[in-house]
């Protein structure tokens, strides 16, 4: 039996609607500019273990009411774009979609986290639903850094923690730098064709 009980079907419906929405954005962009800004996308319903960990970490009770009030990423989408311009294009399409309400937008690309993490987070709700969910948007480079950093963070007994944190931050800055160089190359090629 799932921790979500009867409401699992509701979350699954959000996943389906979200998938359709993203696919529509891809189709629209291919139609207008010939190429999709989205490299790939993933989605998940938060697993029980991760959900309970998050509640415990924030000292919140493990009840249905607490889950639906406090946790905004029961359903999560991650959209990976080829270039930073693509992240903005897709985010604007989501924000202006008439079936979606934006609850919160956190721009960690303009304002990276101190550890170097970059991504654009949108907490949204479908007009016909009361369950908020999260859409994360980032480039391939931002995604590869976040995935590797996530793995390293869970390694036990890290020695020289300060050094590792500083070096990881530098990797994030270097990868972001490469991202912006690739963007300029892409723009130059696009302009010439």
């Amino acid at each position: 039996m799932s921790i979500y009980g009867d409401r699992l079907a509701q979350l699954e419906a959000i996943v389906e609607k979200g998938k359709t929405l993203i696919q529509e954005i891809i189709n629209e962009e291919v139609k207008t500019s010939g190429i999709s800004p989205i490299e790939h996308f993933k989605y998940r319903i938060k697993c029980e273990e991760s959900l309970i960990n998050k509640l415990n970490l924030r000292c919140l009770p493990v009840t249905m009411e607490s889950i639906y009030t406090n946790i905004h990423d029961l359903v999560g989408f991650r959209i990976i774009c080829s270039y930073t311009s693509g992240v903005r294009t897709v985010a604007n399409k989501i924000i202006s979609n008439e079936n979606i309400d934006i609850i919160l937008s956190k721009d960690y690309i303009k304002h990276p986290k101190p550890n170097g993490y970059r991504s654009l987070h949108l907490i949204v709700k479908l007009k016909d639903s009361d369950v908020p969910f999260e859409i994360q948007l980032r480039t391939i480079a931002m995604d590869s850094w976040a995935s590797l950093e996530h793995q390293l963070k869970y390694k036990r007994e890290i020695k020289h923690k300060d050094l590792i944190v500083a070096e990881l931050k530098m990797c994030a800055d270097e990868m972001s730098s490469t991202d912006l160089t690739m963007q300029a190359i892409y723009d130059l090629i696009k302009e010439e064709n």
Binding site: T84, I109, K110, H111, P112, M170, D173, E174, S176, S177, L180, T181, Q183, A184, I185, D187, L188
Partner: protein, 221 residues
């Protein structure tokens, strides 16, 4: 190479100019300190040759004024023979070299060559601050108020040149000297300024590099 010659004695100025032009330099003349200051504030020069005793604004005041504005174009001062005080004051005010009048043209040429060759836009500083950003010379880390990004060696050198000459138009020919592909100069300049603008934007810089008729210039946002 573009030089600014600041000398109020017209005959001497003409003679120095002819000799420098013969040696392959482009020479712009100014006949007093105020005229020179207006030119320096708006144009890029690889070097400045300046007399000290001049009407309107003397050479030392001119030098102090431009250094105060963070313009660090190399300056060769022409001093009257034997005026030790002038030499000391000039060097303290930020002159890169001096030459006593009268001088041999051959020596002037050698000093100009040496001054330009040894000039580095970053001097001995560890970083350059401009507007809302700070550029580290050791690592070419470009830091804004709340985020930072790494620049490549070439990007770092190009940005340093702009930040040390923030009021001037850096001509296309000067930027070409940083470029590697001889067959794609214009495109390469365009690409690198566009890369730098992307990166300045990423650290929320309050300025960008703007394209004008003759070159690029730092422009506030």
């Amino acid at each position: 190479m573009r030089l600014l010659l600041v000398e109020d004695e017209k005959e001497l100025s003409r003679a120095i100019k002819s000799m420098l032009v013969l040696s392959g330099y482009e020479v712009i003349q100014a006949f007093d300190g105020e005229e020179a200051l207006a030119l320096i504030e708006n144009n890029f020069y690889d070097g400045i040759i300046s007399d000290i005793m001049m009407p309107k604004m003397d050479g030392i005041t001119l030098l102090k004024t431009i250094r105060k504005k963070n313009i660090d174009t190399p300056v060769l001062l022409l001093t009257a023979n034997g005026q030790v005080e002038d030499k000391v004051e000039g060097l303290d005010a930020g002159a890169n070299d001096y030459l006593s009048k009268p001088f041999a043209f051959k020596e002037l040429l050698a000093r100009v060559r040496s001054m330009i060759k040894h000039y580095s836009p970053i001097g001995e500083n560890t970083h350059i601050s401009y507007g809302s950003i700070k550029l580290s010379i050791a690592t070419y880390e470009l830091a804004g108020k709340e985020s930072s990004i790494m620049l490549s060696n070439k990007e770092g050198k190009i940005l340093s040149l702009f930040l040390k000459n923030p009021t001037q138009i850096i001509p296309f020919e000067k930027l070409v000297s940083f470029m590697s592909c001889l067959d794609a100069k214009d495109k390469e300049i365009e690409l690198y300024t566009s890369i730098l603008n992307n990166k300045l934007d990423a650290v929320n810089a309050n300025f960008k590099l703007a394209k004008l008729n003759k070159g690029y210039k730092v422009a506030s946002l």
